[in-house]
């Protein structure tokens, strides 16, 4: 039995306090009556009301949501294809360049990705707006999706696919009926990752968004530069709440799926 010493308890307590206190303070002060954010003046939900009246934030939130849903869906399709190519397609000319282009965006500073895409859009005369943000987000999130999906593809038994092909499936049917159900958890977490990356992105969106489209992070950033405001605290609390519920639900689902799978395997073993 491992000793769980006072040192470990202190490290965990201080560590998690450091990680969570800033967000807890933010949430608590979003219910502050006063506009002076650092002085507590009683409980109130009025900033949430004001937030819902604020057309600028609502518009930006709508743009952000559209961009996130569309770009993460494209990114999931393209990223899954890319992962499949990397893991299953064998050798083809230009494979090194291909895998380089998958991994490079993961380490590329956002300012460079943003700048280069902007210069491309200007070069080909594409007006900046929702479409250009979607193109930009799809490009960098598909790389994250393909990393997540390919780690799952590497881990699974290829003979299952081969069996399906031997039994007369077309490659597409084999993918849809055998491969896809097995890699589905990775595809779903890839989509979620792409969705959060898109929701969260400030730098690349600032470069690729024109005056026609402003996303929520851009709006938050320009207002935060002027200092702390209770509306932003309220908005942050809502976003933290959504993410927390989402992550906990996702982890419960995957835990249940794992439990069910183990139960099925045990049942199969008993039957055999």
């Amino acid at each position: 039995m491992r000793r769980f010493s006072w040192f470990n308890t202190t490290a965990l307590t201080l560590g998690f306090a450091f990680l969570y206190l800033p967000m807890i303070i933010l949430i608590v002060y979003s219910f502050n009556e006063s506009r002076l954010v650092t002085v507590w003046a009683g409980f109130s939900t009025k900033w949430y009301g004001e937030l819902l009246q604020n057309e600028l934030f609502l518009d930006a939130a709508w743009v952000t949501l559209q961009v996130a849903v569309v770009s993460s869906t494209f990114a999931t399709v393209l990223g899954t294809m890319a992962a499949y190519v990397l893991v299953r397609a064998g050798r083809f000319s230009g494979r090194t360049l291909f895998s380089g282009m998958i991994y490079a965006p993961l380490v590329m500073p956002e300012v460079i990705t943003g700048l280069s895409l902007l210069l491309l859009f200007i070069g080909i005369g594409l007006d900046r707006g929702v479409l250009t943000i979607i193109l930009a987000h799809t490009t960098f999130s598909m790389c994250y999706v393909s990393v997540v999906v390919s780690s799952r593809l590497v881990a699974f038994d290829r003979s299952l696919e081969e069996a399906a092909l031997d039994l007369g499936c077309t490659p597409w049917e084999a993918f849809r009926l055998v491969t896809l159900p097995i890699i589905a958890p990775a595809v779903i977490s890839g989509w979620l990752l792409a969705f959060t990356l898109s929701l969260d992105d400030l730098v690349i969106a600032s470069f690729t968004a024109g005056p026609a489209a402003t996303t929520l992070p851009i709006r938050i950033f320009s207002s935060v530069r002027l200092g702390v405001s209770p509306e932003i605290n309220a908005l942050s609390t809502i976003m933290i709440g959504i993410v927390t519920v989402g992550v906990i639900t996702a982890s419960l689902i995957s835990k249940n799926a794992a439990l069910r799978q183990r139960a099925e395997e045990q049942a199969a073993e008993r039957a055999a």
């Binding site: 040192f7 490290a11 291909f98 380490v107 598909m142 942050s236």
Partner: protein, 296 residues
């Protein structure tokens, strides 16, 4: 046919939206800065064939790169980014290692929960996490109120808009990247090795230095790169928490582009930043590969 289409779609997408844009940056960084709007001279005329291409090449020059070396703003910004990124990485290691260590020694049934508590902030908006520190660190912020309240200080500290705030911001936002690889390495650590070291007369502390630290080296290296690489090109943290003294290259590039509208210089700044990043990225890749080979 199907296979070719499968390869072609993501391939062409990445060529068009990743590689070509980057080549454009490279080209503009070598172009003349006189024109503030495209097309930048020289332009490539395909109709003239090879002669046109050599003509195009001969007009490109390194003027913008020479400019970067002449104005000391730029190399100071590169050096100070390297320094800020390196020091914050070290701080993140000092903060993250004990947390990862304690997580790996916690009871197994607790570990998934602890792991989720580390990952959860990563899913929360980066911008909001940085923003949350403004209220804490400002002159009349919560930290100063607290310290004044308990009587540790008599004058409020100036932390916001200094480099100290930038260090705090980077450590805070990238801490999960440090904790996770170290935890992964420590979790695999066999306890009997520590027992053996203690049986052979090691004190617990020297067993830690001689056994635990070397065996978690791969995790430490991975964590350091995962913090250092994004911190180097960071823009949001220095611009929200830093002050006028904070020079970071991501911020310089942003201002060069959005305020000065000097695209060729901004592109040259980007190219040099990428050249600097190649070293840690290659080292990181090598560490990962060695790790994979060791696991066989």
């Amino acid at each position: 046919m199907g296979r070719r289409l499968l390869i072609a779609v993501p391939y062409l997408w990445l060529l068009a939206l990743f590689l070509i844009p980057f080549l454009i940056v490279l080209k503009i960084s070598l172009s003349d800065p006189e024109l503030a709007i495209p097309p930048y001279t020289p332009t490539l005329d395909w109709r003239e064939g090879w002669a046109g291409f050599t003509e195009f090449l001969s007009q490109l020059d390194f003027e913008n790169f020479v400019f970067l070396t002449e104005d000391d703003l730029y190399w100071k910004a590169y050096l100070s980014s390297l320094q800020i990124a390196a020091l914050s990485t070290l701080l993140a290691l000092l903060v993250g290692y004990p947390i990862a260590y304690a997580m790996a020694r916690a009871a197994p049934e607790w570990r998934p929960t602890l792991l989720m508590l580390v990952i959860l902030p990563f899913w929360t908006s980066f911008l909001i996490r940085v923003y949350s520190w403004i209220g804490i660190l400002s002159t009349e912020g919560y930290l100063n109120q607290f310290l004044l309240g308990i009587g540790v200080i008599s004058e409020p500290l100036t932390i916001l808009n200094t480099n100290v705030a930038v260090y705090i911001g980077i450590v805070y936002t990238y801490l999960p990247f440090m904790i996770l690889p170290i935890y992964a390495a420590l979790e695999k650590l066999d306890d009997s090795l520590l027992e053996a070291a203690e049986d052979l007369g090691c004190s617990r502390l020297s067993a830690f230095w001689l056994v635990t630290v070397p065996l978690s080296k791969a995790g430490i290296i991975a964590g350091c790169f995962l913090v250092f690489i994004p911190a180097l090109g960071e823009f949001v943290i220095p611009s929200l928490l830093g002050g006028s003294e904070t020079l970071m290259i991501g911020k310089v590039l942003w201002e060069e582009f959005f305020s000065n509208r000097d695209w060729p210089v901004a592109s040259a700044v980007a190219v040099v930043l990428l050249l600097i990043l190649i070293v840690p990225i290659v080292l990181f890749q090598r560490n990962e590969q060695r790790q994979r080979e060791a696991e066989g």
